[in-house]
């Protein structure tokens, strides 16, 4: 912790109000967004394959969902882990209404306009649910609230699964039962999804930048003090639930009309947990963090489906090598034989960085052909941002050294793999046990994802962004803190 108070990236970043500047900024930003979406719709969308579209839609829907959950968990400090329920309610309401009224021709209107109405319908239904879930938050705190929200999420899911118009439905309601609502017309266009994402981020950011938003943060920090200072903590919490739920409902409506159906399996506990993971990894309380984590993790999850299979023995060889490398690093570091903080000669840094690039290129060559260009673009953007962040800090040499070393280890592990895998194949019991098995990445990805989740939580429990939003000050402090003492904030 710093001895003198360090400046916080203040929530009240709002500049002085000036009518002329305000309205120009307003209209020009609307114009820019409108033009961008129009251009995207007319020039980019026609060139996208189905898989690419799926990636973009899901990534930005989950980004929206993560930001909406962040409003409840990160900004207002509540503990809600059943968010998929609101997503589901929005999807099912919109889907059912469309199937009942639009598809049958009872209501005649342009598809996009109807979709807009459905989005609001989904939001309204989810908002009611948000109210129902938010009210118990008056009496429940922390873990208890978490479990109650989880329970609510499951109840909604189970109820939906049982509404198949048959014996166990309530009043014969048919919501598609275990297979989900089918036959929803696919009205969603990509630009709509992007628009929802932009609107969500804008709304949330507006809230935080106003004094009004501070009351949410106050409830998060200390509910008792907030009450004593005149903030109606109860109303604030319920409002947060309603808002977060409504946005999730909108995302749900869009999903229903993209997917053409509302399968209950897409809205299970798993989805809720992934959303919470996105918010926590991004940094609870950070809009940028939640949005970035939502998009990134969803892209990873979908993208990794296509990675080819790996024989079990190769995988074990890689794991053994990784453990050896890690143990070796620890041993060397303990004996102070390895000092990575700026004292390495430039030649090692350069060599290591080149090896890093080589490993990335190797991966690209072997697996890249199958990946959607969306993922490739995203990966390049990510790496460019990372590089820019590193280079803009004063401790860049130390960081380049670290990445260089990391690259060297990676290269070593990958290149040495055949050396270890070969002898492994020679060991009889091993071959007998797993010789024939291949692990498909589709199965592996969850194992890797969960392990990575645990790993990230142990290293940085407050998430990448913590409470803060993205700013260059933050970047400098993030990287500076790591090389020196431990990171705070």
């Amino acid at each position: 912790m710093a001895a003198t108070p360090a400046p916080v990236a203040s929530v009240l970043d709002s500049a002085k109000f000036h009518a002329g500047r305000f309205w120009t900024a307003r209209f020009s930003s609307f114009a820019v967004v409108g033009l961008a979406l129009y251009a995207f719709h007319n020039f980019v969308t026609p060139n996208l394959g189905i898989y690419d579209v799926r990636l973009i839609v899901l990534a930005f829907l989950f980004g929206t969902l993560a930001v909406s959950l962040n409003l409840i968990n990160g900004i207002t400090g509540q503990f809600s882990i059943g968010h998929a329920a609101f997503y589901l309610i929005g999807a099912i309401t919109a889907g059912k209404l469309t199937v009942t009224f639009y598809k049958t021709g009872i209501v005649q209107m342009p598809g996009t306009l109807w979709l807009l109405v459905m989005v609001f319908a989904g939001a309204a239904a989810a908002a009611v649910a948000g109210l129902i879930v938010g009210l118990p938050s008056l009496r429940l705190r922390g873990d208890y609230l978490a479990v109650a929200t989880l329970g609510f999420g499951e109840i909604v899911n189970v109820i939906q699964r049982n509404q198949d118009g048959g014996k166990q439905s309530i009043a014969g309601l048919d919501l598609g039962g275990a297979y989900g609502l089918q036959g929803v017309p696919k009205l969603t266009e990509i630009w709509f999804v992007l628009l929802l994402f932009i609107v969500t981020v804008a709304l949330t950011r507006n809230l935080i930048t106003c004094a009004h938003g501070l009351s949410f943060l106050a409830v998060r920090e200390d509910e008792l003090a907030a009450d004593a200072t005149g903030v109606n903590a109860t109303r604030t919490k319920v409002t947060a639930f309603i808002l977060g739920a409504a946005i999730a409902g909108m995302a749900g409506a869009l999903y229903a009309h993209y997917n053409g159906s509302v399968p209950p399996d897409d809205f299970k506990m798993d989805t809720s947990f992934i959303l919470v993971a996105m918010v926590v990894i991004g940094g609870t309380g950070s809009i940028t963090g939640a949005a970035a984590a939502g998009i990134t993790l969803k892209l990873l999850e979908e993208g990794l489906r296509k990675v080819p299979a790996i024989p079990a023995i190769d995988l074990y060889a890689l794991i053994l090598l990784a453990i050896a490398a890690f143990a070796g690093y620890r041993a060397l570091a303990r004996r102070r034989k390895l000092n990575l903080d700026g004292k390495l000669r430039p030649i090692w840094v350069t060599l290591g960085s080149i090896l890093c690039v080589f490993v990335v290129w190797l991966g690209y060559k072997n697996y890249g052909s199958d990946l959607s260009w969306v993922l490739k673009v995203a990966a390049w953007v990510f790496m460019a941002l990372l590089l820019a962040c590193i280079l803009s800090t004063s401790s860049r040499v130390a960081y380049l050294a670290r990445f260089g070393f990391f690259g060297f280890c990676l290269a070593l592990i990958v290149l040495a793999k055949p050396l270890v895998a070969g002898p492994l194949r020679g060991i009889e019991p091993v071959v007998e046990l797993v010789g024939q098995t291949t692990y498909r990445a589709a199965d592996l990805r969850w194992a890797i994802f969960s392990l990575a989740l645990v790993f990230v939580m142990i290293i940085r429990p407050q998430g990448v962004f913590g409470h803060h939003e993205f700013s260059w000050t933050f970047v400098k402090r993030f990287f500076a803190g790591r090389v020196g003492e431990g990171a705070s904030a």
Binding site: T4, F17, H212, A225
Partner: protein
């Protein structure tokens, strides 16, 4: 009409009677002290006045209006604001933001206006920021306005809590052990500050404190509690020499 009229306030926790039949009145502009040995029930009285606890019996009237059992944020809205024994700041927020939250009580714009960032919300945010800055200047905290409140030294944190309470534009300020953990110089500064609150800003102040000298120097009327009951009331000179008070603090006379 008294600013605060407490009548026969009693509260039971299970079998334990924490506060028993306490009554006092505070007039406009008083510097009122509430003292007593540890466990006498002083903070419990605060909690009942501000709505954190609901008294088992008795009533609290603020400017003639019954406020017994109202929720804390309503009580704050009516004009009573308190600080806490263990400082409760909004730690991750900056000093300025802490005070703005206090000022927010008197805001007017709607949630919709905030979400869509309409001009009324912008202008009001700026107005509240300015108001908060002014208060910070009064409390001599303007040079750390952007610092994280949890990073401040202890004395400044206490001042910040008072600044935040002041931002709610209260009529009555309840300070719970504001001088705890301060050195003599800081205590003297605090005395001056509290007196300023009354003299310059017209606030009525009720203070819980342990430090006898602090209370005797600052307060004009004092109520003494022991084991939940009121044992003395009056100006400092009278309290100082009251045998029951001496016995409560020091034990039986030799």
């Amino acid at each position: 009409m008294s600013v605060l009229d407490v009548q026969n306030l009693t509260i039971r926790f299970g079998g334990l009677v924490a506060v028993n039949n306490v009554s006092f009145q505070i007039e406009q502009g008083d510097l009122f002290g509430l003292i007593g040995p540890n466990g006498a029930g002083k903070t419990t009285v605060f909690n009942m006045v501000t709505g954190v606890y609901r008294p088992t019996s008795g009533s609290v009237k603020f400017n003639g209006r019954e406020i017994t059992g109202l929720s804390p944020n309503r009580v704050a809205g009516l004009g009573i604001c308190r600080t806490f024994q263990n400082i409760r700041l909004f730690s991750a927020l900056s000093v300025l933001e802490n005070v703005v939250i206090g000022a927010y009580l008197r805001h007017r714009t709607s949630l919709f206006s905030a979400l869509t960032y309409l001009p009324p919300a912008c202008k009001e945010t700026e107005r509240l920021k300015n108001e908060a800055m002014r208060l910070l200047e009064v409390m001599d905290l303007s040079n750390v306005a952007d610092a994280r409140s949890a990073d401040l030294p202890y004395g400044k944190q206490r001042r910040l809590e008072i600044a935040r309470a002041m931002a709610t534009q209260p009529e009555l300020l309840l300070l719970d052990e504001p001088a705890a953990g301060m050195n003599p110089q800081e205590k003297e500064d605090l005395q001056k500050t509290v007196r300023r609150l009354r003299d310059e800003f017209g606030k009525t102040v009720l203070v819980i404190e342990h430090d006898m000298r602090f209370v005797m120097n600052l307060c004009e009327k004092i109520v003494v509690l022991d084991h939940g009951e009121e044992i003395a009331f009056g100006p400092p000179e009278q309290i100082r020499n009251d045998p029951k008070v001496i016995e409560a603090y020091l034990g039986e006379p030799v």
